[in-house]
């Protein structure tokens, strides 16, 4: 338990550092959102309007320390400022609207990719030397292919040429959002291609990673002994070999879960999916600092939470880490 408490303390400290950097970096940069807006309007702005906008964006001439305290106070209330792109919508609202789409799409796709990829990796290591080894070159190829290329290929083949799947948006224009079967069906239908993109493009990593560790584990004495004990192959493969081989893969899984929140930017762009990735792109295009800041904050916190979950998983799965915690 002390181990977990120590980790928790570490993550809280890191979170504070992330929040503070998030506060400092934009303020160390020249210019502010209002100057940008004014520049966009070629300077034809009433000084009173500029002043009003400065107040609306929460830009003040107060000392840095006072600003910092205000910032932390706002953060505690979930206030991230107002977006420029979607002015006057609050950044927190923009994120709250787009985050569920990203978590739903990328999260589920990452989970599927991890489960299927790990299972395949285990099987391929177990049956090495058989026809299954033929999958390896294909996996290596997929490992090297970038996301957006897969996305474009899928859009071209299944969206444009065959027209089996829609190529943009998260749900059809003809359905009303709500907890209806029709809406759910439309969401799944629209999520199919982007989800397949993510699964296809990320699964190869899982397969190769798991297979490599698993092949090493299969050479361990305890696996040979499990076989000598007359256990069923299934039990030897999962309870002895895979159970140990999965440990080094937990960290990479937790990290990828953390980056789920960042969205698959390229995938979301190709499919015009209304997730965090698309919002981030819009924020960058419009020099929307409050929005970018908010999204980066959410991403860094998500990565920290995912790492903490990985630590928890280690404690549950590997008794050797538990000993250190005593």
């Amino acid at each position: 338990m002390r181990f977990l408490a120590r980790r928790l303390g570490f993550y809280l400290l890191t979170a504070w550092a992330a929040v503070t950097l998030n506060f400092l970096i934009p303020r160390l940069m020249p210019g502010d959102p209002v100057e940008l807006l004014v520049a966009r309007l070629k300077g034809n702005v009433d000084p009173a309007a500029i002043d009003a906008m400065r107040r609306a964006f929460g830009i003040s001439d107060a000392g840095l320390w006072q600003q910092y305290v205000d910032y932390l106070g706002n953060l505690a209330h979930g206030e991230l400022g107002r977006s420029i792109t979607f002015f006057p919508t609050e950044v927190s609202t923009v994120i709250a609207d787009s985050l569920p789409w990203t978590v739903g799409l990328v999260g589920v796709a990452t989970l599927i990719s991890y489960l299927v990829g790990t299972a395949l990796g285990v099987l391929m290591a177990w049956k090495r030397g058989t026809w299954l080894d033929g999958v390896l070159p294909a996996a290596t190829f997929m490992h090297a292919v970038p996301y957006f290329w897969v996305a474009l290929a899928l859009v071209f083949v299944f969206g444009v040429t065959l027209q089996w799947f829609p190529v943009s948006r998260a749900y059809g224009l003809d359905v009303m959002p709500g907890f209806t079967g029709e809406f759910a069906g439309s969401v799944l239908y629209h999520a199919a291609l982007p989800a397949v993109t993510i699964v296809v493009a990320s699964m190869a990593d899982r397969i190769l990673g798991m297979r490599n560790v698993m092949v090493t584990t299969l050479g361990e004495d305890y696996v040979v002994m499990a076989e000598a004990k007359g256990l069923t192959s299934r039990r030897v493969m999962w309870a002895y070999a895979a159970r140990n081989a999965i440990l080094p893969n937990i960290t990479s899984f937790a990290l990828s879960l953390g980056f789920v929140v960042g969205g698959s930017v390229l995938t979301e762009i190709v499919f015009s999916y209304p997730g965090i990735g698309s919002m981030l792109l819009k924020g960058v295009e419009n020099e929307d600092f409050p929005l970018m800041q908010g999204i980066f904050l959410v991403i860094s916190l998500a990565v920290l939470v995912a790492n903490f979950l990985a630590d928890l998983a280690y404690v549950v799965l590997d008794p050797r880490t538990r000993q250190e915690s005593e």
Partner: protein
């Protein structure tokens, strides 16, 4: 009465540069309830032989010829090498168990010692209740000198000696007729080593299993074995009672092994050792594989392969090996 009969067993490692004959034409008998010592340098094929008998060889190792017959007490017998998958699983651990070299690696690090006894019982004794299995696990651990409450301990929580005892307890779970011990004490310090040897002897008296005890430590074998077989370059070069081998070795290689460690009692002897290095198994010298290192080699030693005729495979003195070499 033999419990295991090995006849003309050969094992090759198939590699790119041709086959490596790790075990060549080995014939050995294991009598019911005896401790048979198997000694030889690293690479002499002793572990490969043991793994072949337990059917634990993995590619690229393959049995190329020979037979292994297992005889039950009721007179029925079984060709171990011809067992199908299901029969092999039933044969394993119930009739023949293995204690591996380093118990640190032979025990599953993520599962408790008790659970590793439990899964043997669950597979082989499906009728046994959960409570009976737990009781049996506690009883086995106590029998090898580990207190019953340690069955909830993970391998890393036990000392090296305790781990090896736990491995022996697991081997005893189903009262096998044969236990193969592959260097069970090599990783332990001398005091613990002695304790474990005593334990093995005591357990043997109690349960009556036969042991194939593999080690490179001939002095240790003298102490524990009833009979000893010496291997060199994949072949058995001498067999005999432990006392006979000790007092009057017939093969020059055995003599070399005996002279390569000091005696604590009796007259001082010059430490001789064996000149040269073990041969490359891919290109064995013609004739007797030992002749380049043998001080007594004759002309025909480099052309004629001595057969294990009686107790020794040596051409000296008309195939009888060394005459009394004291």
């Amino acid at each position: 009465m033999n419990v295991l009969e090995i006849r003309d067993l050969s094992v090759d490692y198939l590699s790119g540069g041709g086959a490596v004959h790790a075990v060549a034409d080995v014939s050995l008998d294991l009598r019911r309830g005896e401790i048979l010592g198997l000694a030889g340098e690293s690479g002499s094929g002793k572990s490969t032989l043991a793994n072949a008998v337990a059917r634990l060889l993995r590619p690229p190792a393959a049995i190329t010829s020979g037979s292994v017959v297992y005889r039950r007490q009721d007179g029925s017998s079984e060709d171990v090498l011809a067992l199908g998958r299901k029969e092999l699983r039933a044969f394993r651990w119930k009739e023949l168990a293995v204690v591996f070299q380093s118990a640190m690696n032979a025990l599953n690090p993520v599962s408790t010692v008790g659970a590793q006894i439990d899964d043997v019982l669950r597979i082989h004794r499906p009728g046994m209740s959960r409570n009976d299995r737990a009781e049996r696990a506690a009883e086995l651990l106590q029998r090898v000198g580990i207190s019953a409450d340690r069955r909830r301990a993970y391998p890393h929580e036990l000392s090296g000696g305790m781990r090896q005892r736990a491995a022996i307890a697991i081997a005893l779970a189903l009262n096998p007729e044969v236990i193969i011990m592959d260097e069970p004490t090599t990783a332990l310090d001398v005091v613990v080593q002695r304790d474990i040897l005593h334990e093995i002897r005591a357990l043997r008296e109690e349960y009556g299993f036969a042991v194939v005890f593999i080690t490179h430590d001939l002095s240790l074998l003298m102490e524990i074995s009833d009979r000893i077989a010496i291997m060199y370059a994949g072949r058995v070069v001498e067999t005999g009672g432990a006392r006979a081998i000790h007092t009057s070795p017939r093969h020059p290689y055995t003599l070399g092994l005996l002279r390569s460690f000091p005696r604590l009692h009796g007259p001082r002897e010059q430490l001789l050792g064996i000149p040269g290095t073990p041969p490359d198994l891919r290109s064995l010298p013609p004739g007797c594989a030992f002749h380049p290192r043998c001080g007594k080699a004759m002309a025909e030693c480099s052309s004629e392969l001595p057969a294990l005729d009686g107790d020794v495979a040596c051409l000296l003195n008309g195939g009888r090996g060394l005459e009394d070499a004291s």
